[in-house]
């Protein structure tokens, strides 16, 4: 590792965080769609949805948090794309810095920005009556899963950020990710779905992650869900990282 890696990453992280501080709309727009869904599903559709849970907002929040992350990472792709287009990426790459720190700064910025959005969404959920008996360890476990999920999706976002030809292309990739929770246990129990849909819903990553977080919030034993969830997160992370790394190497050689 280059001896300047940590220092350079810190400097570039400071730069990206300043971008966020100067355009807080990226945080607000990230949080606004999940909040709208939260309101819509809790106060409009929720009454008709049978989940077996005492309150629907408690049932819904884990899935909404994943949607928040899925919509938040499109800004990561957007910011990276902006650097690529503006020429500042090339300026950094032609300087005597640890080259990979340019990417890592964007990745860490994504973690910080998503964390803020998540806190906002959780705050709204609390105001809407979300309650959990989870202690510090439970919350830490939830935070850890969300962090890992953000990291995995962020590395996916790096790929279009590096390779897209237009702004639309750089952020469009996130739409399927945002809608994946709809075909999962995030909004309704999978048992209510017809066979093939149910099979898909029960074997895609969102369901196990949502179930694990839900169990942590309701202080139920997490069972195998948490291992499936962690395996999905790490698997996505590794695959996305490899492809992002390949795209990156193509860009700089």
């Amino acid at each position: 590792m280059n001896k300047h890696f940590l220092g350079d990453t810190a400097v570039l992280l400071g730069r990206s965080l300043r971008h966020i501080a100067r355009s807080p709309d990226t945080i607000i727009t990230t949080a606004i769609m999940p909040i709208a869904m939260l309101l819509l599903f809790v106060y409009v559709f929720g009454g008709a949805i049978e989940t077996g849970s005492d309150s629907y907002v408690n049932y819904l929040l884990p899935g909404i948090l994943l949607i928040t992350i899925a919509s938040g990472i499109s800004y990561t792709a957007f910011r990276l794309f902006g650097d690529m287009q503006g020429g500042i990426f090339e300026r950094f790459q032609s300087m005597p810095i640890a080259r990979s720190s340019v990417l890592w700064a964007h990745v860490l910025t994504s973690l910080v920005a998503n964390l803020i959005s998540l806190v906002v969404v959780v705050g709204v959920a609390l105001a809407m009556g979300f309650r959990t008996g989870a202690g510090v360890l439970g919350w830490l476990a939830v935070a850890g899963i969300l962090l890992l999920f953000t990291l995995a999706l962020t590395w996916i976002a790096v790929i279009p950020g590096l390779t897209a030809k237009s702004v639309d292309g750089a952020s469009a990739f996130s739409y399927p990710l945002i809608f994946l929770p709809f075909i999962s246990s995030a909004f309704v129990p999978t048992a209510s779905m017809p066979g093939p849909v149910r099979a898909f819903a029960e074997h895609q990553p969102v369901t196990s992650i949502v179930n694990a977080i839900r169990d942590l919030f309701t202080q139920q034993p997490v069972g195998t869900d948490i291992w499936t969830a962690l395996a999905w997160c790490v698997g996505i992370l590794v695959v996305a990282f490899v492809f992002a790394d390949i795209s990156y190497r193509r860009k700089i050689s």
């Binding site: 503006g86 090339e90 300026r91 950094f92 790459q93 032609s94 300087m95 050689s253």
Partner: protein, 269 residues
């Protein structure tokens, strides 16, 4: 003839040129962009790479600044091989790309501080303030770059390139898209650079820019260097000029700059 003799040949100036390029080739898929480029640039000189759009100027600059790998040939910058000693090359150069590579969301000063930090220099704030002064950007220093004019952005861009005093500076079409005043500002900045002993390789598609600035000019065409020499040497490639009587009218540029320049001076007072 006298003019040619007064400019000594490159090899007599310094033993080792700041930039040495031999047999450089680069293709993008089927397209052969560079077909064997040879250049030597003497230390402390301004070298202009002249060519039309798509001639391969930017590709040469990208290879020299370690952003692209050549398919064949060698290139040494400040004595370091761009392929095998890329990190040393990056210590020795700075690149100002075709589009002003500045961060529009940060202020001018923050941009300079950022680069000073990334070059691991002490006192980034003082370095930034000094450059803001040298490039007449002190007043604009705390404004976001998004509010700057094209000329100001370019000036900031070049100021960012000077941080850490790299011995070799690449300027890729530094005045493309600038108004006449902006061009003059950039030209002045480039001249100051060379006076300070920096080697400048600039690419341009404007003939007058090369004429104004460069000690040596090379014309890149279809991936090869057609000619390489001083302005006078290049002029001698064509038959001697005929003496004609011409009534010298001011050019539109003269008129424009006189009118606008006069007003700008008045505003400054």
């Amino acid at each position: 003839m006298l003019a040619v003799m007064s400019i000594p040949p490159t090899t007599d100036r310094v033993a080792e040129p700041a930039i040495q390029v031999q047999g450089l080739e680069k293709s993008f898929k089927q397209l052969k962009v560079l077909r064997g480029v040879d250049i030597d640039v003497a230390r402390g000189s301004i070298f202009a790479l002249l060519g039309s759009n798509g001639a391969g100027k930017t590709t040469v600059v990208k290879i020299l600044s370690t952003l692209l790998k050549a398919d064949a040939g060698t290139a040494r910058v400040n004595g370091f091989d761009v392929a095998t000693q890329a990190a040393d090359v990056r210590e020795s150069i700075s690149l100002t790309g075709q589009f002003a590579a500045v961060d529009a969301i940060l202020t001018g000063r923050e941009n300079l501080v950022l680069v000073a930090r990334l070059r691991h220099l002490k006192g980034p704030g003082a370095i930034a303030d000094d450059l803001l002064r040298r490039f007449s950007l002190t007043e604009a220093g705390n404004r976001r770059v998004a509010t700057y004019s094209g000329g100001m952005r370019r000036r900031l861009d070049i100021a960012m390139s000077l941080i850490g005093d790299p011995p070799v500076v690449f300027l890729d079409e530094p005045t493309t898209g600038l108004d006449p005043e902006g061009r003059l500002e950039v030209w002045q900045a480039v001249r100051k650079l060379a006076e300070g002993g920096t080697t400048v390789l600039l690419t341009t598609q404007y003939l007058d820019e090369a004429e104004q600035l460069a000690d040596r000019i090379a014309i890149l065409h279809e991936g090869r260097i057609l000619v390489n020499g001083t302005l006078n040497e290049l002029k001698q490639l064509l038959p001697p000029a005929e003496v004609e009587y011409v009534e010298k009218q001011p050019t539109l540029e003269d008129v424009f700059l006189t009118l606008v320049g006069a007003r700008a001076e008045k505003e400054q007072r």
